[in-house]
């Protein structure tokens, strides 16, 4: 029986995956069209944008770009060619890094993904734990403490929080590195290298993650209180299960659902937030690349980051949907 159920769940997950992938296509198309509109809105020609600040004066290169992007064509044909180029992962060439844009971005992507994953993990762990404590000890001093802390971190700008963490833990106490992803000069590979990266990861993770921890704590608290009043919880208690067991196995699991929903909605915000945090901590991720490209008006990279960033968000959203389905067996494919 259980095997049959597991098999049908697996098939349902596959169906969900397929449906989400199909839905992702118009979404990505929308991102690309918005990108294209921005290019059209910009002062100067597409060619100027694609070569700005790169000192491309070689007529052959300019002619090549002219041809690639079909600048003499009508706008709709240009859009088609732009989409076609992106489909082949041709985001243009970055003269600043002297490599294709896609390559420049993928070099920086892992660092950003690491920061995102660690921040979300921290936010979930701290937020869910704080929310559970607040709801179990509702209207006690613990509840108030969680509320006050959540209010504080929900209002603090992440970049400012990051700087204050540096002042306290790096400058005053000397416990943490000021920035970067690894000690300059290196500490060797292997476990020492991994620990070194983790050491550098702590402060940026706190600066980015605590804002989301504050949101999750508030949502978790109210959701726990709400679920605890539902009938099935009373039934479980009436069956003779202990309060703790009911809280953990019945209330917690159902109360997590709104948190997971919000997590999915906020994926783009987390990615965008890491841009600012990376600038504070000189973290060598996409944010640093974006900031550098924005300052040098390296448009192909900026636009490429927007497209690939949206792609990461869509992928993360699909993952969140699968988690949601796993948590809530009632969800079937509509």
């Amino acid at each position: 029986m259980a095997a049959v159920a597991a098999g049908s769940r697996g098939r349902a997950a596959l169906r969900l995956l397929r449906r989400r992938l199909i839905q992702a296509v118009p979404l990505m198309l929308g991102v690309v069209v918005i990108n294209f509109c921005l290019i059209q809105l910009a002062p100067g020609s597409f060619l100027d944008l694609m070569t700005a600040e790169n000192q491309v004066s070689d007529p052959a290169t300019i002619e090549l770009l002219r041809k690639t992007y079909g600048l003499d064509d009508p706008v709709w044909l240009q859009l088609m060619k732009y989409i076609w180029a992106l489909l082949q992962l041709d985001f243009g060439f970055s003269y600043r890094q002297n490599m294709p844009v896609i390559q420049a971005i993928s070099v920086h992507l892992p660092a950003t993904l690491l920061l995102m994953v660690s921040s979300i993990t921290l936010a979930l762990a701290v937020g869910v734990a704080a929310g559970v404590v607040a709801s179990v000890k509702v209207r006690t001093v613990w509840d108030s403490l969680v509320s006050i802390a959540a209010m504080f971190f929900f209002a603090a700008p992440s970049f400012w929080l990051g700087i204050m963490l540096i002042v306290l833990f790096s400058v005053k106490l000397g416990w943490m590195p000021v920035g970067g992803m690894a000690t300059i000069g290196g500490v060797g590979g292997g476990i020492a290298g991994v620990l070194d990266i983790l050491h550098h990861l702590i402060l940026p993770t706190l600066a980015l993650g605590l804002f989301y921890a504050a949101i999750y704590a508030r949502v978790m608290r109210s959701s726990m209180l709400e679920v605890a009043q539902l009938d099935f919880v009373r039934t479980a208690r009436a069956k003779g299960l202990s309060r703790n067991k009911v809280t953990v196995s019945h209330v917690l699991r159902n109360a997590l659902l709104p948190v997971v929903t919000i997590l999915g909605v906020q994926m783009g915000t987390v990615l965008a937030g890491s841009v600012v945090i990376e600038s504070v901590f000189s973290w060598p991720g996409v944010g640093s690349l974006l900031f550098d490209s924005v300052s040098s008006r390296n448009y192909p990279v900026v636009l490429g980051i927007m497209v690939l960033g949206s792609l990461v968000v869509i992928a993360a959203n699909i993952a969140v949907d699968l988690v949601y389905m796993w948590l809530d067996p009632r969800i079937e494919i509509r």
Binding site: V31, L38, F154, P157, I163, G268, V276, V294, L303
Partner: protein, 289 residues
């Protein structure tokens, strides 16, 4: 036309302020925001000279010189004067961006909720699209391509902030569009535009207004991040830019960074408290959640 209020938020004119005032946090928030707004309005009277003018010795700590209660920055500019003038820029950008977001969100949400069908489908896909694009990256892209002017920043923040307002407006319209008073208007031959603007919208607005107070808070955080990165309007010294300017000196004078950040945090905190208070006052049922 005197028709009964159909919103789920049925409160008398007197009940509402009393409920709001009973929420102590919201009251404190409202008072503080009023003070911040007052300072912003009175900034030219309080500090009539240019706040970016050098007036004293550089890097005076707060309290070191009674003339500069919050100290001076690396160039010897009065931090208190910069904070007071920065309040103008910060609040103005926050309010305008929130107004842009509310205008876009209410328009799209109302049309989607009222007409339903494929119109609704398209509108919700658009909302999904704008939630997918990493918001700050989008703002930075707009600002860098179209230029770092105040107007561009306000519009860019508005464009990334309208989705929650559209969803809320849509939900309200969905709940209201088939109520008796709307059907009565339709039976009387009233046009769609008249029903949307004159009948449903006034009933749908209260929760939307609550949400836009939270959008102001979000917009202030957005603007401060853009300015912190040095991409704000170069003619405007908002709080975020002050934090960014002080960044180089965190080893010797970290207060230069800390003070404007506290100003941002307190303002955002108060706006959130007001939003929570309004929410509680409008939905008494949800208060204990």
């Amino acid at each position: 036309m005197a028709l009964p209020r159909a919103s789920t938020f049925q409160l008398s004119r007197f009940e509402f302020p009393a409920r709001f005032a009973r929420n102590r946090g919201a009251l404190v928030g409202a008072v503080l925001i009023f003070l911040v707004a007052l300072t912003a309005v009175l900034a030219p009277l309080l500090f009539p000279t240019d706040p970016l003018r050098i007036v004293g010795a550089p890097e005076l700590w707060p309290g070191e010189d009674p003339d500069f209660p919050l100290g001076t920055d690396s160039l010897g500019r009065d931090i208190l004067a910069m904070i007071v003038h920065g309040a103008r820029a910060t609040l103005l950008i926050g309010l305008c961006a929130s107004a842009v977001a509310t205008l876009i969100g209410v328009t799209i949400g109302a049309i989607a909720g009222y007409f339903g069908g494929w119109v609704d489908e398209i509108a919700m896909r658009a909302a999904e699209l704008f939630q997918t694009i990493p918001n700050l990256i989008f703002v930075l892209t707009i600002v860098v391509i179209l230029g770092s002017t105040l107007g561009n920043i306000v519009i860019a923040i508005g464009i990334v902030s309208w989705t929650s307002i559209a969803r809320m407006t849509r939900a309200e319209f969905l709940a209201l569009r088939d109520r008796e008073f709307v059907q009565a208007c339709r039976a009387m031959g009233m046009g769609d535009g008249g029903i949307i603007l004159g009948e449903i919208l006034p009933n749908a607005l209260p929760p939307v207004i609550v949400l836009s107070s939270l959008v102001v808070a979000g917009a202030i955080l957005f603007e401060s991040a853009v300015s912190f990165l040095g991409l704000g309007d170069p003619n405007v010294a908002s709080w975020g830019r002050l934090v960014g300017d002080g960044r180089q000196l965190i080893r010797s004078s970290w207060y230069i960074c800390a003070i404007p950040g506290v100003a941002i945090m307190v303002t955002v905190l108060c706006l959130n408290l007001i939003g929570d208070g309004l929410n509680d006052a409008l939905n008494p049922k949800l208060r204990d959640r």
